[in-house]
């Protein structure tokens, strides 16, 4: 047996290392946020926050420039909501099917398929969305362009789905067998057990799955830029081109002058994105704590 002192030292070292990693990750996030603030806040010397967020036109290179991001916020919102409306029900249902119903062989095959889907780079999905989904939507609805909010939502739903399915599936599989047994022993059917007990027990995990999926959608840039048509106008329907916050940053960062108002405006968009993500996580956290009571 090793002397007590050595073991204590080892414990101490391990503990502090973990603590340090924890502190670092928080510090990094803070630094990123500070950096965003520093670069972005200068915009508000010449521009009011209200005009920025609720301004209806985004003409960053006209003279004078107009930095209203309402169309971009609505674009992001529309595409994200659409993607969530598609991917959440399908993803959760797929996870329930894989975890609870599918026979063993099929389950393995489906899980492998989902992992494969997760491994496809977003440009590739964007590319497929652009050359197959776009024309298809154009013909189906008989509209001038296939690059629309709907195209973006469907494309992004494909990207959110693997995250949602695999995390939700883990959560469902982790529900202890004893709950299922108890429900079955009371005469519940397979479906009643799955729906009333297993899905309820796995709810925090499924919520996390949904949040991560949506997080991926909000942050996604490449694919969305390729399929949504990039028109910074206030959207009134799913069948018209939109532009998202992320796509704006990616598309315009290269052509903006460092330190100029356009540059600052793009960083300010970054702050908005940061705050949105933060809010979503906060709401999820609140909900998780409440349901854990």
């Amino acid at each position: 047996m090793k002397p007590m002192r050595v073991r204590k030292l080892k414990e101490w070292l391990i503990e502090k290392t973990i603590l340090l990693s924890g502190i670092f990750s928080v510090v990094f996030v803070l630094l990123i946020f500070l950096f965003l603030l520093r670069e972005g806040l200068s915009l508000f010397r010449g521009e009011s926050v209200i005009d920025f967020i609720f301004g209806k036109s985004w003409y960053p290179i006209s003279d004078p420039p107009r930095f209203g991001i309402l169309p971009l916020i609505l674009g992001s919102l529309l595409v994200t909501l659409g993607a969530a409306a598609i991917s959440v029900p399908i993803g959760i249902a797929a996870a329930l099917y894989i975890a609870e119903i599918a026979p063993l062989r099929l389950r393995e095959a489906l899980k492998a398929g989902i992992e494969l889907l997760a491994a496809i780079p977003s440009v590739v999905i964007g590319f497929i969305g652009m050359i197959t989904l776009g024309p298809w939507i154009k013909n189906l609805f008989n509209i001038p362009t296939g690059l629309t909010a709907l195209t973006g939502s469907v494309t992004l739903a494909f990207m959110a789905m693997p995250t949602i399915v695999s995390i939700a599936e883990d959560a469902i599989t982790a529900v202890p067998r004893q709950y299922r047994e108890a429900a079955i022993a009371m005469g519940a059917t397979k479906w009643q057990t799955t729906w009333r007990i297993v899905a309820r027990a796995a709810r925090p995990g499924m919520l996390a799955a949904v949040m991560l999926g949506i997080g991926r959608v909000i942050g996604e840039t490449m694919a969305v830029m390729m399929v949504t048509g990039n028109a910074a106008i206030i959207p009134t329907s799913f069948l018209q081109p939109v532009r998202t916050l992320t796509a704006t940053i990616a598309a315009e960062m290269g052509e903006s002058v460092q330190g100029g108002p356009h540059y600052a405006a793009l960083f300010a968009i970054g702050i908005v994105l940061f705050v949105i993500t933060f809010l979503i996580n906060g709401v999820a956290d609140l909900y998780l704590h409440r349901s854990r009571r």
């Binding site: 108890a182 022993a185 005469g187 519940a188 309820r200």
Partner: protein, 252 residues
């Protein structure tokens, strides 16, 4: 013997090629506590889980012979499986309340079998909790998570949640093995109270428990029912030498 609640005739059960129950013939009287004892692996849980067909969940299980509950062979083709499990409630070794509120745990069975209207739920919950002597402790915590209760309370809740189904039979597989001695005594007292209305079959490793809490005791060994009789007889003058060896602690 008085009214019979469960009867088996020539019951065999196989897990694949392994025969876990061999030619079991027994009768379990209504509104009495029947204990099943025997060394580990002798088939007590397997036999108990025949009575509500929980073994159906395991792949490769085959059953032959008859098990008659409520006048019907529960393995007959077309037997009403869900109805059987409504009539025959089960309490498990480890307390396993659903990760829901106390209230939701109790109304689960009602919702599943559509047994009552929502307006009646409140009364039924109160009645079920009173039956297991939990009402006074929990009446202000009905909507808190059942997982926050003490183990004893959880096990009581697990008994309470099958009562709204108005079962005739309660199966309990070592219901006290996760509990401390005091809680164990409490659950045994509860069984004495419940047996006025329900037939209780309890599997136990604890011979004192069988002696204290049961009216009849069956001794199983290697898948066979060696002997079943009034508990006093089993513990004072067993008919079989094997039973005597077991209860006097010479094996098992």
């Amino acid at each position: 013997m008085s009214e019979i609640s469960i009867e088996t005739r020539g019951l065999n059960l196989f897990y694949g090629d392994f025969q876990a129950l061999i030619g079991i013939d027994l009768q379990i009287p209504a509104r009495k506590v029947t204990a099943l004892i025997g060394p580990s692996g002798c088939g007590k849980s397997t036999l108990l889980r025949v009575f509500n067909r929980m073994n159906d969940l395991i792949d490769g299980v085959r059953v032959s012979g008859q098990v008659i509950i409520g006048g019907q062979d529960i393995f007959a083709p077309g037997a009403d499986l869900l109805g059987l499990r409504e009539k025959v409630g089960m309490v498990f070794q480890r307390p396993n309340p659903f990760p829901l509120s106390v209230y939701e745990n109790i109304v689960f069975g009602l919702a599943v079998h559509r047994l009552a209207r929502r307006q009646e739920y409140g009364d039924i919950v109160e009645q079920a909790l009173r039956s297991v002597l939990l009402w006074d402790d929990l009446k202000d915590r009905l909507h808190h998570s059942a997982l926050k209760l003490s183990l004893e309370q959880q096990q009581r809740l697990c008994i309470a949640r099958v009562l709204p189904l108005k079962p005739q039979i309660l199966l309990m597989d070592e219901p006290c093995s996760a509990l401390d001695p005091i809680a164990t005594l409490h659950i045994e007292e509860l069984m004495q109270k419940l047996k006025k209305e329900y037939t209780i079959v309890i599997v136990t490793h604890n011979m004192q428990q069988a002696a204290r809490a049961s009216d009849r005791t069956g001794f199983l060994y290697l898948g066979k029912l060696i002997e079943i009789n009034e508990t006093v007889n089993i513990f004072t003058k067993p008919a079989q030498a094997m039973t005597e060896n077991y209860i006097s602690g010479r094996f098992g």
